[in-house]
Amino acid sequence: MDGVHDMGGMDGFGKVEVETNEPPFHAPWEGRVLAMQRAMGYAGAWHIDHSRFAQEMLPPVTYLGASYYQRWALAMEKNVIARGFATPEELKAGHARSPGKSLPRKLTPDIVGAGLSRSSFYRQQQGPQRFQPGDRVRTKNIHPATHTRLPRYARDKVGVVEMCHGCHMYPDSVAADRGDNPQWLYTVVFTSRELWGPDTDPTIKISIDAFEPYLDPA
């Protein structure tokens, strides 16, 4: 969706402000939010793309005004309710009023390393690899109202395939609850002039990782 989360190239946000000796968490609740997200992900409650999409659907003012872990908490509440893991009344009351749904598994302290390990996003290929490194491609001009990982600044642009990363689960499909729908994934590199016009610094190159459905031959 064309939301405020898709920030690449926007102006006006100011300088990057670095906090020296930044702690891992700025308040204990931030750690709880991160850990709950990991635990619910391990349990199989939802996928990372569902978390991203839930954040993207926050009203723009909320998205920009909330801190990072506040956004995570708001997105988690959305997924908990939308997927029937708890009711709004239960969250408001702060207590469960009925037993939970069954989930594939549960993260316990003895296996916490498993909850910290990144899973593989590789999936069995469904068709032949369409592009090879060196191929010129044009990204599609698409504006789906749902989750996509093709940023706006890189739509309808010509680039060159640099790497192929194999077949991965397809976020656009996963976030819409339409299954893994595995797709080939490529690093596609663009010149700054292709993305930002003739007046930009020509020494800059930008790449995205693009799923095959985002690409046409150029």
Binding site: F13, L64, F85, H95, P109, D209
Partner: protein
């Protein structure tokens, strides 16, 4: 590295007062409900938090970089398949299958961003800093990377290619910074002290030999 000193209260103005307590209360309510429903175990949450506070940090990446600086065969393996190379060191939690290392050279400087959210190689660099997840970095890194670098006090030669990697899928990138001059014969451990977090994101350079603590 030049930076701006910001205390927490300035960075998080919006969390002050009643809003902070509202967030705290909502997060507590969420945890209680999910626990009572049987989905999560609070002691597992404690263990996750402890791991991020004590074990999973940029030192993991620094050690990888230092090894690449001293062992040409490892460097080659790292650039070919970083997931496999890092896993072969066996000292950190599994990095998954999708880590890519990109090498800085006098001709090319690499920089990592996630414009859409906050994708970051957590297993080798720890939790991403607030600035990495912030709108200023996410918006400008792909359009004005030299401007972003100047916010970090870095000025690259005009002719150096700047390559920005937008982490739009599940591939994760780590920058292999250039080894500083005057470090010949240094041990891996001493070299690792030169490898800052920002140098592995590409918003910094490795420390000079004289800057080591």
């Amino acid at each position: 590295m030049a930076g701006h000193n910001h205390d927490h209260s300035h960075d998080h103005d919006h969390e002050h007062g009643s809003e902070l307590s509202e967030t705290q209360l909502r997060v507590r309510a969420l945890e209680t409900v999910l626990t009572e429903k049987g989905y999560i175990d609070p002691t597992a949450l404690d263990a996750i938090i402890e791991a991020y506070e004590t074990k999973i940090g940029p030192r993991n990446g620094s050690v990888v970089v230092a090894r690449a600086w001293t062992d040409p065969a490892f460097k080659k393996a790292l650039l070919e398949d970083a997931s496999k190379a890092v896993a072969s060191m066996g000292h950190m939690s599994r990095v998954g299958d999708h880590l890519v290392a990109v090498e800085n050279t006098p001709q090319r400087h690499n920089m990592i961003v996630c414009t859409l959210c906050s994708c970051y190689p957590w297993e080798v660099l720890g939790l991403p800093p607030v600035w990495y997840k912030s709108a200023p970095y996410r918006s400008r890194a792909v359009k004005d990377p030299r401007g972003v670098l100047s916010d970090f006090g870095i000025a690259l030669p005009k002719g150096t290619e700047v390559r920005v990697w937008d982490s739009t899928a599940e591939t994760r990138f780590i920058v292999l910074p250039m080894r500083p001059a005057g470090t010949e014969g240094w041990s891996e451990e001493k070299l690792a002290d030169l490898v800052t977090r920002d140098s592995m994101i590409g918003t910094g350079l490795a420390l000079n030999s004289g800057e080591v603590r």
